[in-house]
Subunit: 156 residues, 5 copies
């Protein structure tokens, strides 16, 4: 099988090095995969970087790791970043997983870091599954999975 | 007549397996139709998956099944997901029905599940009608139909 | 002069059959015009349908008739629908009039129906004017015209 | 030097005939310029009209004159209109100045009219400067200029 | 190595001449770089200008310097400007750093000016790093860097 090439984009704005966690997780579940990493200043720089990784580096999939502040402007920046990442997927025929951690998800740093680590790890796996086999996640459909938190389960 | 090929995209975030309901409903009203299903993590992954189903699988129509949380970030994610699905329709010359269930539509799980099931079923039918005959729904125009709830009827 | 072909898109979500009013008005002011109608479930289906009417039916202009609920999610859906309709105009080099009636514009059904009828009728005329003669509306520029309500007039 | 062709788009929704002011100002500072005017119903019709002026009339620049109500739906319409005008600039390689007057900028009609007139006049000049010489406005960079109001000046 | 050509776009709306600071910083860290500057009226004019600098001037990277007011309409204009700048990066295969200063970031002018100067300077450096070496910023990944303010550091 073709060796996978995975793009990883993270930011200097983030307070947790999520790319390191993502790359370690990818190596664990797909040891032959190659990763290419770009670090940009903040979330609004993610779509351009994802686009460059797909166009210039021919990545099979990209994971972006955004860190979002708690103010209105941060949330508006989240909207444009996420919309840009969706455009990249449509225009570049690519798979991009858009991971974000929001500073208002927790009131203390330790919890926030745990959320970031769990979310990064789980979405790294999600990306590999989606790139390798589009049908893989079907067994978890409707199961109320969460990234950053424990799953909430399906409604019985 | 040409056999229909319908794409179904759902999420692991959802707490109800709406794709199962959709596929069953499609088989009931259009037994010869083929369905292709992709499960992705969450709503922001829907547009990319819909695009892939149209481009790589040549689907005649796609139904996406989103589950939306109750917080601001969830609603912002809803905006970008839905806008992405509209772009897919314009750029890919395709028909996509964008179904979403919002966790704040009900205060108890049982009601939420009923909403999801009813909405998924009704929109599965809507998609088949739209793909087979663009004039079919004209008889219900202005009738105040609702998906997830009973219709409210036209203003007399 | 070339016979006009006008696309009309409405929804089953709407509680007033605005397309009927629009088609009647078009026939009155432009008897030779042909109309092609598509009914879709809700407002997020309007851009795709407008795009199909322009691409497959070669319509000279399209009028879409949206009905918008009163909740936040309805308003967010309004944003994506309207943005999609603007994209259709830019990408397809077309004229689309995006008519919407919002359920919170009136507290009783009767008033809401009157708003819908007046707005649909006036915008049907606007579309014919715009398609036939881009300079026609200049005489009303800055006149404070309203659709759904009486005009408010220019500031003297 | 090539004779300039400037597109002017205004609305029947507006309560001030800003296009008249804009055309007069353009004639004053650039007497040889030709203007082409289109009047549309409201702000959501501006991007399509600007696109048509660029594509069919080969305008060197376009100024759009929007009038925005005070309700949430008006503000959402402002977003889609302005985003559409930015898309026109990127997709059509064109210069478009997007002028809007908001009804909640003043509590009385007279003040609102003054804002509209000042803003229209100043942005008409801005457009001519931008089209003729992209470096012209550099001398005012960071000077806290305002249109519709007096400038606030730079922070010293 | 190829001499860099950097585009700088700023506004007459801004109350601080951030372009001057940016150009000085670029000359300091990359003395051979050429800069091309365009000044436009406000933030909604930034994406079109960035697009022109890339297409007509072949810039290797662009920095835009927006100044955002404190009202709702200003924040909505921020959204469309930033989204436009992301589109420019995807459509034009370019690197654009979107710098904005918001008037509600400080209650006094002096502090606001300091924020603007620090942010402009730091992002000028970020742009040069990104254009010259996409891997350069990796050493600061997850370090909680801020522009306009001191860094907040990583969560230990």
């Amino acid at each position: 099988m073709k060796k996978l090439k995975i793009g990883v984009v993270d930011t200097t704005f983030s307070r947790v090095d999520m790319a390191k966690i993502v790359i370690r997780e990818i190596k664990k579940i797909e040891p032959s995969a190659e990763t290419v990493r770009i670090t940009v200043p903040g979330i609004k720089d993610l779509p351009g970087a994802a686009h460059r990784l797909i166009k210039s580096e021919n990545c099979d999939g990209v994971i972006t790791l955004g860190w979002v502040g708690k103010n209105l402007v941060d949330k508006l920046s989240y909207v444009v970043s996420s919309l840009g990442l969706i455009m990249v997927q449509i225009i570049d025929d690519s798979i991009v997983i858009d991971v974000t951690v929001h500073e208002d998800e927790a009131t203390d740093d330790k919890t926030l870091k745990k959320i970031a680590e769990d979310r990064a790890k789980k979405h790294a796996r999600n990306l590999i599954y989606m790139v390798k086999d589009p049908r893989y996640l079907e067994k978890y459909a409707g199961k109320g999975l969460r990234q950053g938190y424990p799953g909430v389960g399906p409604i019985e």
